[in-house]
């Protein structure tokens, strides 16, 4: 299939939750971990997110996505544990490297936040179909044109990727080298990216024509072929999420005041 997607086709409670509720969960769960900088609290939010992923039957799919951020996480642990400005209490030393308590606990907080962020995104993107998400957002007032852009990118990038091989073949056939010194490799960049740019702008023009003649710039209120799915209890869940956010904000203000 020629679509970029991380969506996993399963049947779970999360798959049967309205896309916008999940969007709200992502925003709230990230926001509260930054509003309340207590390790125990952030840890519990992260655990809830983790449990939700398991409930959505997509836990295993999040592991490689978390893996992408491994360098960032390691860097946080090492640099903060090592160099955090408030470092005072020595925790342990490995050879000449000394880790401090303050730095490491700060690193733990940051790491938990990052992991919660990635996992809560995972809830949304692993259990929601793109077109359903975008259509829901259009019905909430997102410009249909932006909606079009979001959906088409997901299909057009894989299409463009297939031209990558063709371009490479065509230029190698004309004697271009792609290996060798940095200069040789730098010189090869233009013949490769050039056709991509020209070709895609050319196609953009044609596609714009095709869109125009199919009423893309029409000011009519749009109708929808697909009927939105009915979800239950969404309002209740959304209210709870909003209240959670409000409570976190109140907590924050109170701590400031005291």
């Amino acid at each position: 299939m020629s679509t970029m997607t991380l969506y996993v086709e399963k049947n779970s409670i999360l798959h049967n939750t309205a896309p916008l509720t999940k969007v709200l969960y992502v925003m709230v769960s990230i926001a509260i971990t930054y509003l309340i900088p207590e390790i125990a609290f952030v840890l519990s939010v992260a655990i809830i997110t983790l449990l939700l992923l398991i409930l959505g039957k997509v836990f295993r799919k999040i592991v490689p996505i978390l893996g992408l951020s491994i360098i960032l996480i390691l860097s946080i642990i090492i640099v903060q544990g090592f160099f955090h400005p408030q470092n005072q209490t020595i925790l342990f030393s490995i050879g000449f490297v000394t880790f401090y308590k303050e730095g490491l606990s700060y690193a733990a907080l940051l790491t938990l936040r990052v992991m919660n962020m990635i996992m809560s995104f995972g809830i949304l993107i692993l259990t929601t179909k793109h077109d359903e998400l975008v259509e829901a957002m259009i019905k909430k007032g997102l410009s249909p044109k932006i909606g079009y852009v979001l959906l088409s990118v997901l299909q057009l990038i894989p299409q463009m990727r297939t031209t990558m091989a063709k371009i490479t073949d065509a230029q190698r056939s004309r004697g271009m080298e792609t290996e060798g010194s940095l200069l040789v490799r730098m010189k090869a960049f233009f013949p490769l990216i050039g056709p991509v740019v020209l070709n895609s702008i050319n196609i953009t023009r044609e596609r714009a024509i095709a869109l125009e003649v199919r009423g893309f710039s029409s000011n009519q209120k749009r109708s929808f072929l697909n009927i939105s799915k009915e979800y239950r209890y969404q309002t209740a869940i959304q209210v709870i999420l909003w209240l959670t956010l409000a409570a976190a904000i109140v907590w924050r203000i109170l701590t400031w005041l005291s």
């Binding site: 371009i167 056939s173 004309r174 004697g175 271009m176 080298e177 013949p191 056709p195 070709n199």
Partner: protein, 266 residues
């Protein structure tokens, strides 16, 4: 004399599905058309010749050189391949710059590259557009630029992939001239085609691909007379052959002249 010798050539992307299977061919001198349905393996075949793909089995000798022993870039002087879509290669902002890219890559100096490029552009009748941006010309003209950009490298073997697609009458006449001229220079010309009329009229020899194998090959006139075998490969006869058939003429016809001669005799 330039030659291509293919022995027991097979190719597959995945072990389960063979794209090409057990191809034996010997080509020398004659202009050759390669026809067949989409997915018959034509494009894969020419990519193998060009060295862009490596055979899973078998060997390809280009003028005695085994493609296995050379890189794509080092084969560029020996064999030129014009791809179907010119938009996959064009990146310069002038026609002349685009055509000179190949010659400069294979080590021609600036002046020789320019001479060769202008010569090539004259052949495709675009010499008055040297400084024009290729994208200010039409797609069919860009196809001709892509052809010139290979001709300017002066390879001994020239392969075209679908050059007639989208060309008008004048474009096809230009192609015809180029193919004849290359032949007269002693070069070996191969051409993947969907246009049976053009194949029958211009090429001495025709190879019919079907499901990864060579179904039949031989002099074009003989091949295009065989209605049943062409139908087996989901191909149509050229119009002249259809007319001959409709008029109940026996024999093989590849060009208007063939047919007229036969009709006048009658």
């Amino acid at each position: 004399m330039n030659s291509i010798e293919v022995t027991n050539l097979s190719f597959s992307y995945t072990p389960e599905i063979d794209v090409l299977k057990g191809i034996h061919l010997k080509l020398d001198g004659e202009t050759t058309a390669i026809v067949g349905q989409n997915g018959a393996g034509k494009s894969t075949f020419v990519k193998l010749l060009k060295g862009l793909l490596r055979p899973t089995e078998g060997e390809i000798l280009l003028n005695g050189k085994n493609t296995k022993d050379y890189t794509v870039a080092s084969l560029a002087k020996e064999i030129g391949l014009v791809f179907q879509n010119p938009n996959d290669q064009i990146f310069k902002n002038t026609v002349i710059g685009e055509v000179m890219f190949g010659p400069l890559n294979i080590g021609q100096d600036e002046q020789k590259a320019k001479e060769k490029s202008i010569e090539a552009l004259e052949k495709v009748h675009l010499e008055k557009y040297l400084e024009t941006n290729p994208y200010d010309l039409s797609l069919s003209e860009r196809k001709l630029i892509a052809i010139a950009s290979i001709l300017s490298m002066d390879p001994n073997i020239v392969i075209f992939d679908e050059p007639t697609m989208g060309q008008d009458y004048a474009g096809k006449e230009t192609l015809k001239e180029i193919i004849f001229e290359l032949r007269n220079q002693g070069k070996l010309v191969l051409c993947i085609l969907h246009d049976m009329d053009f194949a029958a009229e211009v090429f001495e020899r025709t190879i019919v691909f079907n499901q990864g194998k060579v179904l039949i090959e031989g002099p074009s006139r003989d091949i295009f007379a065989q209605k049943e075998i062409l139908e087996q490969a989901y191909l149509e006869q050229p119009y002249v052959a259809q007319i001959a058939d409709e008029l109940g003429l026996k024999g093989s016809y590849a060009t208007d002249e063939d047919l007229l001669r036969a009709l006048k005799e009658e």
